[in-house]
Structure formats: C-alpha cells, structure tokens
C-alpha cells in the first residue's frame, strides 16, 4: 500500500537530478546519459498512472519510449564517435563549430 504520489515524487526527483546533470556536466557522453535518466523518470510516471487508472495504454507508451530510446542511443553514440574522430575531444565547450 504505497500512495501513487510517492512514485510520482520519486520520478520528479530523478527527473530533476537528470536536468541538473544535463546542465552541469561537460562531457558529451555524460550529458547523453543524463538524457536517458530523464527518459526513465518519465517512464516511471507513465507506469504509475497506468496502475492508477487501470489502463494498459501507459505501459504501451513506455514500450514505445524504450524503442525510441534504443534508436536514439544508437544514432547519438554514432554522432559522438564522429565528433571525437574529427575534433579529438568530448568536452562540449570545445565543440563550438556553430558558435564561431
């Protein structure tokens, strides 16, 4: 017997930590990892609401989010490899081609 609100607050905690890590971290891989953390936090709210409303739709949405996250991770990491190959760095402050 756990209030659904506790699950949602836990998801809010994880999401906020994800936002903080996204803004503070300077390594492009770690920034990508914090995006995954935020996606997971949102998935937890979907599952909690699916439980609350007795609807399977929330769980199906999480399934599709997982598929998209897998595709996004594959493409994103390929882009990171391409960046590292041309610029020899993973620091986002030095990847400023569009800023110069």
């Amino acid at each position: 017997m756990v209030p659904i609100a506790y699950y949602l607050v836990l998801a809010a905690v994880l999401f906020s930590i994800g936002i903080g890590a996204f803004l503070i971290k300077r390594n492009v891989i770690t920034i990508f990892i914090s995006i995954e953390l935020m996606l997971n936090a949102v998935n937890l709210t979907f599952v909690a609401f699916a439980h609350k409303w007795h609807q399977i739709g929330g769980q199906i949405f999480v399934f599709f989010v997982m598929v998209v996250a897998a595709a996004e991770a594959a493409v994103g990491l390929a882009i990171i490899i391409a960046i590292f190959r041309t610029r020899q760095t993973l620091n986002v402050d030095e990847i400023d081609l569009m800023n110069s």
Binding site: I17, I19, Q55, Q59, F63, A70, L77
Partner: protein
C-alpha cells in the same frame, strides 16, 4: 511490504542518480545509471508491469548501457575538467532543477488523496495478466505503430553505421 520495497529501491535509485551527478569519470556515471535502471525495474514490477520490468532489464540495462560503456571505452574518455562554461551552468542549473522539482512535488503531494494507493500484484483489468493484456492491444489495435517501430530501428541502425563509418 510494498512500502519497504519502495523505500529500499527508491533510495537506491536516488543514490544512483546522485552518484551519476557527482562522479567525474563517464564510466562511473554509466554504471550508476545501471543501478538506477535496475531499481526502476523492481518498482515497475511492484506496479504490476511485469513485462516492462523484464524489458527494462534486458533493453535498458542490457543493450543500451552496454552500448554506452562500449563507446566510453572505445573513445578512452577521461575525467572531465571544469571550465568556465560550467560555472554559469552551476548558477542556473541547480536552482532551475530545484524549482522544477519543487513544482512537481507540490502538485503530486497536494493531489495525494485523489491519486490513491498502489497495491502489489494488482492486475490492471479483470484477472487478465499483464503480458496477455499488453500483447492483446499491441497486436490488434496498435499493430501498425508496432510494425513501424521496426522500420524506425532499421533506419537507426543504418544511420549509426553511416555516421560512425570512417570516411575514405
């Protein structure tokens, strides 16, 4: 018992997320994300989403995180250094994240009674188990989106190969 399960794995998830934030080396951040994902899988199970708990372990902590660890090792990523770009991010990021958390927590806790409670082992519909119900919808009503995701994955694979390929 569900409250104990929630507290243990909730604290584990938050501790993993904070460790992700405070570690300087990307491999430590990636491995603490695995801890977060595994504890979330237990929480999914406690909410009656058995299929998603298994998929979380297999897809997220299995496939995606292996990809991350693989790339970190391939690029030999070292510790990140502090730059003055991160000073501004500190001043904006921490208050911003705290404000978003306060807003969300206020809304959820003020609606606490309306949201009700979660019971362990609770089925969503009348006695149909989770995987049967999920596949029933996925293969009848949502067959087209389900098939389109396979095209999406194929495009993602091709895109990854093209982007990561060495240019001649």
């Amino acid at each position: 018992m569900q409250l104990a399960l929630f507290i243990i794995f909730g604290i584990l998830a938050v501790a993993g997320a904070l460790n992700l934030l405070f570690q300087r080396h990307p491999i430590n951040s990636a491995l603490s994300l695995v801890v977060v994902m595994m504890s979330l899988a237990v929480l999914y199970w406690s909410l009656g989403a058995e299929f998603l708990a298994a998929a979380q372990v297999i897809v997220y902590s299995g496939a995606i995180m292996v990809l991350f660890v693989f790339v970190i090792m391939l690029l030999n990523a070292g510790e990140e250094e502090r730059t003055h770009g991160s000073r501004a991010a500190y001043n904006v990021g921490i208050p911003g994240a705290a404000a978003i958390f306060c807003l969300l927590a206020f809304v959820f806790l003020s609606e606490r009674d309306a949201l009700g409670v979660a019971n362990i082992g609770g089925r969503l519909a009348n006695g149909v188990d989770n995987i049967a119900e999920l596949s029933q919808v996925l293969f009848t009503k949502l067959l087209l989106p389900f098939e389109v995701t396979s095209v999406l994955i194929l495009v993602a694979i091709l895109g990854a190969v093209v982007l990561a390929r060495k240019e001649q």
